[in-house]
């Protein structure tokens, strides 16, 4: 189960959902694996504002993975113009700002994205790192524990199981 999923999961018990302690679930005895997938820059940019960044940082820390930046990166920091073909070693620390859009910063973003994304954008190191962490790093085995009731949901062969004891067949 890819780590991005944790951003949309909480305890299956109804009373827990009202408690802030039930989100996010806490991995325990986690066995991680990398399941490679193709990076989709526009997907990454779209999903970024949906992330509970602080909570995600906590989970990443609990898993012993390298810290996420304190502040969530801007969607604009995920893509850069591809013309200058520099290697990522030096580009990693640069603040790559692309100025390909002319939208007013103050106006809310429209829900519908333009037809196709700028074709010549390529992922920055930030994008590569986020893709690796959110979409490729996966929980293979272990448990997900609710911080409110303490219930542990098992993860086996990459599948998290949220059936509650009373529902087990």
């Amino acid at each position: 189960m890819k780590l991005l999923t944790l951003n949309f999961l909480t305890c299956a018990l109804k009373p827990c959902k009202a408690s802030p302690l039930s989100f996010p679930l806490h991995p325990r005895d986690a066995e991680l694996e990398i399941v490679e997938s193709e990076l989709n820059l526009s997907f990454l940019r779209n999903i970024l504002p949906r992330l509970a960044w602080e909570e995600l940082r906590g989970v990443v820390r609990e898993l012993g993975l390298p810290d996420l930046p304190e502040i969530m990166p801007e969607a604009e920091a995920l893509g850069k113009a591809s013309s200058g073909k520099k290697t990522n070693e030096n580009a990693a620390n640069e603040n790559t700002i692309t100025t390909t859009t002319d939208e007013d910063e103050l106006s809310p973003k429209p829900e519908v994205q333009p037809e196709a994304e700028e074709p010549d954008l390529e992922p920055t190191q930030t994008a590569l790192d986020l893709h690796r962490l959110l979409l490729e790093t996966s929980l293979r085995a272990g448990s997900l524990v609710c911080g409110n009731c303490g219930h542990a949901y098992k993860v086996k062969e990459g599948v998290a199981n949220f059936l509650l004891p009373g529902h087990l067949v």
Partner: protein, 256 residues
């Protein structure tokens, strides 16, 4: 037609869940073509939308739009394992009545051919409510319409179908699923892409090689889905009939 066992959770465990777990791979091989209404709903979503597919089965609808993110869930571990292949989505094992998602966060949700498997009116309404409660509520202040759910259930009125059920027929039925060990046979003569490979029963396969499983269904009559949506706190924005099924697109009712 259905026996006199008390309906509810235990009943569904025996007459729905264990059957799907058992027939998962065969069931999956017969399900590849998305229904047009569902496909349209998923393709019209803005890029980057986040949603849930409650009762995702083999993940057929996870393949439709890779520009949105869907958390699919199903009671059957075997089906969830099959559904895992569709990127960029995610799949988990969960019950429709105990979904492990934060409430009021998703842009969309789909429930395709699932709610008709719940065996009492209360549980069906609860299942609809569980789907609707995933949605972002409409906000009149920001002029947002809120999240949308597409719910799709089997219809009682299907006299053109092979089964020929229609108005006036018993709504709670047991539907056979016939599994043949010779897979090639069951691939043939598929009609309507709907709820079973039962059509395969018409081909001439030796009896000894087939096994029949019975699944419980509640066949929805006209207007019943809309009523469930209303009782569950939803508002129907569009509804209709497609290929032996009733469907409805709903949002949460506005707070005002």
């Amino acid at each position: 037609m259905a026996e006199s066992e008390p309906r509810g959770e235990e009943y569904e465990a025996q007459h729905v869940h264990s059957v799907y777990e058992e027939i998962a791979s065969h069931f999956s091989s017969t399900r590849y073509k998305p229904w047009p209404i569902v496909e349209r709903f998923l393709k019209e979503l803005p890029d980057g939308s986040v949603g849930a597919d409650v009762g995702c089965g083999n993940g057929k609808y996870l393949a439709v739009n890779p520009k949105v993110f869907i958390v699919g869930s199903d009671r059957s571990t075997n089906l969830v394992k099959i559904a895992q292949q569709y990127q960029p989505h995610a799949t988990i094992v969960a019950d429709n009545l105990g979904l492990p998602h934060p409430t009021h966060t998703f842009d969309f949700a789909i429930s395709i051919a699932v709610i008709h498997h719940l065996s009492t009116p209360e549980r069906r309404m609860e299942a609809v409510k569980a789907v609707l409660d995933l949605l972002r509520p409409p906000s009149s202040a920001q002029g947002q319409t809120g999240g949308k759910a597409l719910i799709y259930v089997w219809a009682l009125e299907q006299k053109e179908s092979r089964r020929g059920w229609d108005e006036g027929h018993e709504q709670d039925v047991m539907v056979p699923w016939v599994r043949h060990s010779k897979k090639e046979k069951s691939q043939k003569r598929r009609k309507g892409e709907d709820h079973g490979a039962e059509v395969a029963a018409q081909t001439s396969v030796p009896q000894s090689e087939s096994k029949t499983f019975l699944r419980y269904y509640h066949l929805y009559r006209r207007g019943e889905l809309e009523r469930d949506v209303g009782e569950a706190g939803g508002k129907v924005v569009e509804s209709g009939y497609e290929k032996d099924n009733w469907w409805a697109i709903a949002t949460l009712q506005g707070s005002d």
